[in-house]
Subunit: 115 residues, 4 copies
């Protein structure tokens, strides 16, 4: 079984055991995704690069847990909306590669529509 | 190769080809994660459940692309911070299962600290 | 003195007393604005309309405090970037009124570019 | 009339003219607040301090408009939830001043619970 299927199965079992499916609708799932992403970001608030490096020496596991929370909602939302997230990812990467041709995008952080 | 390793490799190649690693620091990666999560959420703004259902019939692929963008930053951030995201996920799910015991959490959307 | 000037003065005094200006740059101010907005949103996660109404009977002051936090960053950011927020607001409202003509937008939650 | 009352009146008139009140519930208002805050933040993605300074020379008005959008939702939400935002702000500032005593907080970006 693929990583995605395996992790998604664990989420779905977790939810079914608690009868939580009744609360799940796309809006609240997406809202939860944003909240967890914000928690990742909060770790780096006010820190400069040196401070972030020092911080990560002690807080890497905490950040890892928050990223896991984000992944949780990505996988659950994909499951509920019947989105094949691996396929969606491959497709989007193809688009990214086309939107940012190497010769134009190399060494620049310019958005594709301004390249 | 696992799904995560395979997708992460594609991201890392994409970035290295464009010499973008120089712009990447945890704060901007996390900020990007939040922006993409917000784009997922925007799809459901103002829509009630019926409207979301109708909308997803035509916009499922668009939502899938936005979720893929979120996954992109989860994987890249995990890579850059040397976080094993699969391991972090398994660990966090173990914590979730402990924080939300079935008998207490069943059928409730109460946060663990108020259960 | 206008509301905005009065409140902004209180923020600026608060910051100067603590010598915090050194940490303030637009990216971290904006990041803080997002974090506080997410805290407002978290109050309504998983709740349906009836639950929100019940919840607000007891938690209105808490939500008010979070909204105050958002306002804090709006005012501080405007101050630091030398933006006259009242003027910016009046200008934007003029644009909104033009983008959403009454006869076209009435009773619809469609975004202006799809009206 | 105070700034807040004056701006809120303009928002309420704008909404009533378009019969949009029917779409407004606390969750979607808060979601909109987050989306607009994210748009403020997007302006600073990937930019270092020098780049932000340069950028603001040309884009200050754009950032001002996004901040105005955030203010719009703060005011509308306060109105709909019958929150006196000025009073909530004064109250919260009092709490901030108590949570961050000058002698302890001076020159540090540490969160109050770790001071």
């Amino acid at each position: 079984m693929s990583d995605f299927n395996q992790l998604t199965k664990r989420i779905v079992d977790f939810i079914n055991d608690r009868d939580w499916d009744q609360f799940h609708n796309p809006k609240d799932l997406a809202l939860s995704l944003v909240l967890e992403s914000a928690e990742v970001m909060e770790h780096f608030q006010w820190k400069n690069n040196e401070e972030m490096e020092e911080y990560l020496k002690v807080a890497k596991d905490d950040v890892g847990e928050e990223l896991a929370d984000v992944l949780y909602w990505v996988l659950l939302m994909s499951h509920d909306l019947k989105i094949d997230i691996k396929e969606a990812f491959e497709k989007k990467m193809g688009k990214n590669e086309a939107k940012y041709p190497i010769e134009k995008a190399k060494g620049k952080h310019t958005k594709y529509n301004k390249l």
